[in-house]
């Protein structure tokens, strides 16, 4: 569609003390397009959008809306001019209903002061219908799924008559299916004439949904390209500034003895629902076993049981010839020799307020030489950190920096360093690259393969099929708490995808 761009950024520059977060960035957004803003973590995407949303004042450059220079001094200015933003972390009030959240700050009222709940619900329903959203206006936000909450955020922007919608890493919190639903919604919004800026660092999403793609690297715009003709490899190179290997090369596995044997494991979750229903498998030395599956099919409970964080109701876990029943996490790490990269590095993997040295010592503080008879020697903690941080290429902080000061990729390297340095026989890698950018993903993948070649057994649990294909030597598919299929890595994506939804010969026979 021609005419002046809906939005144009000219030479936007934003400096923070010591750094230039945005360096003369030009960007234009056309009516009815999805424009992806692609870049690694820290490339300046969010800064730029915060400038556009009136949260930051830019130092140089100008913002044009429909060809007219505007000053956006606050988010309210931006909202008034039809810019809506959906943040990565939702700004919703959980105890209020969907409709109440949407109309908040601009409520339909009765007699001027009372919230007209029926009118609010009606307007939300009408809005949802226009854009073909499925949502119950009267549901409490606390009760709906993350994907639905995101739709509420989008509706909130639409309710305030936004015609430019900024989505900040919208798929980071979504399951793959929810992401597909979101893309469907974005396509509808596009046909309705909305202009959408889609911030991401995931290349496949960009190719799936974007019309044009602008790539930022270290505060500068590298290029804007059309989706046609764009490839993952080409975009990644723009993003990182060098060629990126998506499939880290790996040798043919040389599996050895079985290091981990799981026999008929049954595990219940906190609500007493049986999430793992009779799972059996083995992990051998020198192989990566990938567990594929849609989220919430028992993978988390399986990992918890293996790590001693949750007791299995029945079944056995054997490591190094010893069977562990109702083992504690300490027994699994210290005696069984299990390393565990947890799926949520903020919840479990790291203590964000602890220094890197302390985080690296989370298992070893209780052993010599970190401590003797209960006395701790911080010097040894720091010595270890001084050795491991360079070895694992952790950047952005020293041994005494708090873990919270690092970027996600570097935080994950700290977790990796801690778990691998203990020389585990078996390493569980649960979603090891969740939320990381391509550079960090490549690092983690290389490292896992290197550890495999060292003779460790690696159990990879991932929701990303790409990751499973890139790393696994054998693929197990979990569905509703059971391993429903096993494949070699040359299985087609289609077959694997079907198995993940429970459609296999075995399941069909039942």
């Amino acid at each position: 569609m021609e005419g002046p761009p809906v939005l144009e950024l000219r030479g936007i520059t934003k400096r923070f003390p010591g750094i230039v977060a945005n360096d003369h960035i030009d960007l234009d957004l056309r009516r009815g397009e999805v424009h992806a803003l692609l870049g690694e973590n820290g490339a300046g995407k969010s800064t730029l959008m915060n400038v556009l949303y009136g949260l930051y004042k830019h130092d140089e450059g100008e913002i044009l809306l429909n060809g007219e220079v505007v000053q956006l001094k606050s988010a309210k200015d931006a909202i008034d001019r039809g810019i809506g933003m959906v943040h990565q972390h939702f700004m919703l009030i959980p105890v209020m209903t969907v409709a109440e959240n949407i109309v908040l700050a601009n409520e339909p009222t009765r007699a001027g002061i009372f919230l007209d709940e029926d009118a609010a619900a009606a307007r939300v329903r009408e809005l949802a219908k226009t854009f073909k959203f499925e949502i119950d206006p009267n549901a409490l936000v606390a009760d709906i799924t993350v994907g639905q909450q995101q739709r509420v955020e989008i509706l909130k922007a639409l309710y305030r008559s936004a015609d430019i919608l900024i989505l900040d890493e919208p798929t980071a919190v979504l399951t793959p299916q929810e992401a597909l639903e979101l893309f469907e919604i974005l396509r509808i919004l596009r046909t309705e004439g909305m202009s959408i800026i889609f911030i991401t660092h995931k290349l496949n999403e960009v190719l799936e949904i974007a019309d044009r793609i602008s790539v930022l690297r270290r505060g500068k715009k590298v290029d804007t390209v059309a989706r046609e003709g764009a490839t993952e490899a080409g975009l990644a190179q723009l993003m990182v500034g060098r060629e990126v290997v998506f499939r880290v090369e790996k040798q043919v596995p040389k599996p050895g003895e079985a290091l981990l044997q799981v026999e008929d494991l049954h595990v219940f979750d906190d609500r007493e629902i049986e999430k793992v229903r009779g799972v059996s498998f083995e992990v051998h030395a020198g192989e990566i076993v990938g567990i594929a599956g849609v989220d919430n099919n028992g993978q988390s409970e399986l990992i918890d049981a293996l790590a001693g964080l949750r007791h299995a109701a029945s079944g056995t876990i054997t490591m190094g010839g010893k069977t562990f029943e109702k083992a504690t996490p300490k027994e699994m790490t210290d005696e069984a020799g299990l390393g565990h990269i947890p799926e949520d590095r903020h919840l479990r993997g790291l203590i964000l307020d602890f220094s890197l040295a302390e985080n690296l010592a989370l298992h070893d503080y209780r052993h010599r030489p970190d401590s003797k008879m209960g006395w701790l020697f911080p010097k040894h903690l720091i010595t270890r950190a001084q050795r491991l941080l360079p070895e694992f290429d952790v950047r952005g902080g020293g041994p005494l920096s708090p873990a919270s000061s690092l970027s996600g990729g570097n935080q994950q390297k700290v977790v990796l360093a801690r778990e691998i340095d203990r020389d585990p026989k078996v390493l569980i890698a649960a979603q090891p690259t969740r939320g990381l950018d391509v550079g960090a993903i490549e690092y983690v993948h290389r490292r896992l393969i290197a550890e495999r070649d060292e003779g460790r057994g690696i159990l990879l649990v991932s929701l990303e099929l790409d990751e499973i294909f890139a790393l696994a030597d054998r693929i197990l598919v979990m569905f509703e708490g059971e391993v429903v299929a096993e494949y070699s890595p040359d299985v087609s994506e289609n077959t694997l995808g079907l198995a993940m939804t429970g459609i296999t010969k075995d399941a069909a026979a039942k």
């Binding site: 923070f16 360096d23 949260l55 270290r218 690092l406 970027s407």
Partner: protein, 399 residues
């Protein structure tokens, strides 16, 4: 971005992370600033209260300051003898405040709010009193050590109950410690009240008196006039112990890990429940020690009516909050509150400057304001450094 500051092209490192190593320092200095600001605001508001009563706030504060005896530290200033006596009183008040502050701070570091300092303090003082009022035959030093040890054990047991309940049943420590406070109060009222097992006479509800050789030696001032006893050094020693446990033992490592992130602690093999119990027991030990050395140092007996009005354990909460749960912070906060209590007591304050009864309330007002402001430290921070902090957060959110 300038080329000099640019990370190598192949890194995913966000530029903001380059400030890493200084972060810890910055957080600490922020804590100090908050404490100083809150104290200053509390004193300003207190000054307004003085003004509202028709007195001169500057004169009042000066009189309070002189009354604390802190002036003794300034060579050649004022009446040396009087300021020495006053300073002894200030340090005498500071001693249990340090320990009760530590009792709250230690639990805080394990992620728990110990409201039970008062009850744990009583447990310690009852133990010291009961065992100090019998067995006059034991040699003094051994008897003192025994009484102090029993006071510590009693406090630890009292705190440990709350920790045990939290670990086993999930009972919230705030609720259980409040109830344990009342249990301790009524046990004391029974023990030392009329017809109680440890009452001294059938006519007045006052306990037996501890035997003479179990009194803590006074090293500064007149023992008859409540000079400063060696319990002060025990409290200073406790500060060191507190710091050492937290920073130099595996137990402290676990306690802090649980305090910051119990789930990550559990993942790394730490027994979270055991730490809840131990942290509460250690907290209780500090408060119990406070009760013990108060009895052995200057109280020597317990008057039942005093049990209900004692508030040293609760003041420990204010001390820990203001001291930001660190050893050094607790020391200065305890000194501040100890000095305030002495400076505004009717013994020190000239009634012509400010009515001592009002002054006592002034202390309470300042204490209350400090707790309120420190509790609302986020608010203070956001007023003081809103822009800086926000921009830091936004930058951080980009990583």
């Amino acid at each position: 971005m300038s080329d000099a500051a640019a990370p190598p092209p192949d890194s995913g490192v966000p530029p903001v992370a380059q400030t890493g190593p200084d972060d810890k320092k910055r957080f600490n200095s922020q804590g100090l600033i908050v404490s100083i600001i809150t104290t200053t605001i509390a004193f300003l508001v207190g000054g307004l209260v003085v003004l509202a009563t028709g007195h001169d706030p500057f004169g009042t504060y000066r009189a309070i300051f002189n009354g604390t005896g802190v002036t003794w530290l300034i060579p050649g200033y004022g009446d040396r003898a009087a300021s020495a006596t006053n300073f002894q009183q200030t340090l005498l008040e500071t001693t249990p405040l340090i320990l009760c502050g530590l009792a709250v701070a230690f639990a805080f570091r394990c992620g728990m709010f110990n409201i039970g300092g008062q009850g744990q303090y009583f447990a310690g003082s009852y133990a010291a009193l009961i065992f100090g009022s019998y067995w006059g035959g034991i040699p003094g030093p051994a008897h003192i050590v025994l009484c102090i040890a029993l006071a510590i054990v009693a406090g630890a047991a009292w705190g440990g109950i709350a920790g045990f309940l939290k670990a086993t049943t999930g009972a919230h420590e705030v609720i259980s410690t409040i109830m344990l406070n009342w249990i301790a109060i009524w046990i004391g009222t029974y023990f030392f009240g009329l017809q109680g097992p440890f009452v001294s006479s059938q006519y007045s509800p006052i306990s037996n008196t501890i035997v003479g050789n179990v009194h803590l030696p006074v090293f500064w001032g007149d023992p008859v006039l409540q000079g400063l006893h060696i319990g002060f050094f025990i409290a200073i020693g406790a500060l060191v112990v507190f710091w050492a446990i937290l920073n130099r033992t595996t137990l402290g490592f676990e306690v802090r890990a649980v305090g910051f992130n119990p789930e990550a602690a559990r993942y790394s093999g730490i027994n979270v429940k055991r730490n809840y119990f131990l942290a509460m027991a250690i907290s209780g030990a500090f408060a119990g020690l406070a009760g013990g050395i108060d009895i052995l140092g200057w109280q020597f007996q317990i008057a039942t009516p005093d049990i209900l009005v004692s508030s040293v354990g609760f003041l420990g909460i204010a001390v820990a909050l203001l001291g930001r749960n660190s050893a050094i912070g607790v020391f200065f906060a305890a000194l501040l509150f100890g000095a305030l209590t002495v400076g505004t007591s009717s013994r020190q304050l000239d009634p012509s400057v400010f009515d001592p009864q009002l002054a006592g309330n002034l202390t309470l007002i300042i204490q209350g304001l400090v707790v309120l402001f420190v509790g609302a430290d986020l608010l203070v921070l956001s007023i003081w450094k809103s822009r800086k902090k926000l921009s830091f957060r936004r930058k951080a959110s980009e990583t």
